[in-house]
Point group: C2
Chain length 375, copies 2
Amino acid sequence: MGTISSPHVGMKINEWNRHIQKFNVTDAEMLKAEIERDIDIMEEDQDLLIYYQLIAFRHQLMIDYVIPSEGNQMELSQYLKRIEGSNRKMEKLVEYYYYFFQGMYEFKEGNFLSAITFYQKAENTIPYISDEIERAEFYFKMAEVFYHMKQTHVSMHYSSQAYNIYKTHDLYSVRRIQCHFVIAGNYDDLESHEKALPHLEQALKGARLLESKNKRIYGQALFNIGNCYLKMSELTKAAKYMEKSILQFKKSNFNNLTQAYHDLALIYFLQRKQDQAMDCFRKGVRFACKFGDGLFKIMFEGLQALFIKKGEASILLNVFNKLETSQGYPYMEELALLAAKFYTEIGQMDDSVICFKKMVHARKQIQRGDCLYEI
Amino acid sequence: MGTISSPHVGMKINEWNRHIQKFNVTDAEMLKAEIERDIDIMEEDQDLLIYYQLIAFRHQLMIDYVIPSEGNQMELSQYLKRIEGSNRKMEKLVEYYYYFFQGMYEFKEGNFLSAITFYQKAENTIPYISDEIERAEFYFKMAEVFYHMKQTHVSMHYSSQAYNIYKTHDLYSVRRIQCHFVIAGNYDDLESHEKALPHLEQALKGARLLESKNKRIYGQALFNIGNCYLKMSELTKAAKYMEKSILQFKKSNFNNLTQAYHDLALIYFLQRKQDQAMDCFRKGVRFACKFGDGLFKIMFEGLQALFIKKGEASILLNVFNKLETSQGYPYMEELALLAAKFYTEIGQMDDSVICFKKMVHARKQIQRGDCLYEI
């Protein structure tokens, strides 16, 4: 797994390109070397590698012009013609990637506003990009980004554009499945789980064909259906798919096992199947420790407080305190609602009210946390 | 006040234009007459009138070609040259308005996905529209539309683009104020009321200068600040601004009086100023009846149940039932949270839990209601 994020390296390539344009040979050479070292330890990113190659080509042209090998002296006009005139499409691609990575970087930093501005500039170059798949990749990335920003309808708009391209290209079955995942995720955010389900089923159909090559996506497809049924309170179906997903994840020891065991334990607890629930609970805790998943360790403490210690409120309040972080709030919201319902059922209304208040608090913090910019 | 929405008329102009392109003289003439009747009773919309004029000009050209007056016979090539060649900007404007109104229409119908697609097509023609104010108008409309869709960050992006243009044009002070309103509304949705406040203060500064010409916007600016302080639980400040806004609204008997009295009654009830609260309550109910504002009539019943009948739960449940409509849910969410806190304070935990559940229910319905499309 890479330790450097690709938007970070993308920003360095943007800077490298600026040095090339100013003929700063030394700075350009230094950055080039640095970027190459980064790429070796970077998370995998096809787009970034294409961008690197585009700029490396420009770099070489610049070197040929500034430090020509014998008999290869170039005129400035020749140089400019070579980089500008010869390949208009390449020119636009450079521009596209420049804005795209600038957008990705701002997105990662939480500056959603400037991210959107840069993405829009990238999108404006799209008419010049003739490759359909390249366009689909952009739409898909936008679908993902706006999904994470919870701009649900905008994400839906991009997912359907991406999907319409991928569906005509047999080779892109993984992306097709991922499009279904994003669409379903958006429907979940719109509390329309019944509309998410058909997309998850189509994703599963596609993923089944890839079972031998891609166990993770097959497991994920099963998990997503199980999770969707859990949200719809259809516990029997939820358990069935969750069990199947665990079988897949186990085959390669994927870290998704933690969440799958957590959800399955919860389902069994809700079904009052205490033994099966305890079994999943223990396994889940073990995987949370193994993968160092701090948030799920806390979530298992939440399950413990409610279903093993019979609703011990002091433990639960302690769990809420631990979730008082920007990553923790979505988990707090979920757990608080679960606990509020749990206490209502056993008639502990005071505790129920405390949990509802925690839920309201968590949701407020989530919404506030989305706003890291000033205007 | 107009009885026909402008997007509806916009769609008719789109159809009219298609008839012109096909030389369907009779249909074009009939639609033209119908549209002109519609415009007379339509809500005010500058954009629509420009669009109408553009197409009316084409209509005349088409008539001149098909039914020439003596000695004015036109060749087809001449006709085409006249509509296509002579004015590329006009061509693009027609295209722009075509997509813009198509988008507005889909938005009104709740088809957010196709609305976004058409808006994007309209936006693609923006580079050809040289008039800066025309561009600002588009950005402002998008800011409003995405605000209503709760695509907060996207709305912020457009508001800041619109604002940056309007701020350099002294004549557009109303739009500048409206931009501040939209930005503040988005900050409210991000639970960042402290960031909304400076924008509302700037809006107020601008609105004060317009006081003699535009009482409504001045009242609205005061109201928005009061409402923001109410959300921040700063009741003394909230009351001060709310009172001032009522003074303005009264000057022209604006229907905003209903909500202003409702909010002020609530503030006084929360401050335990029973007499002042009752005075506002009565006046508010009167205005709700006068303006036939059904939703606020129900909201006043909610205040009555909580603060006059000392939390009579059966009345409150009845109020919730009446709010069980797509327009009612946002009001139900607000009232349910208010009531839940009220009951917690007086120790009626059972009733508090019921209200929290209503709040969760209302929020779910709001999110579901946003999804009127299938993908």
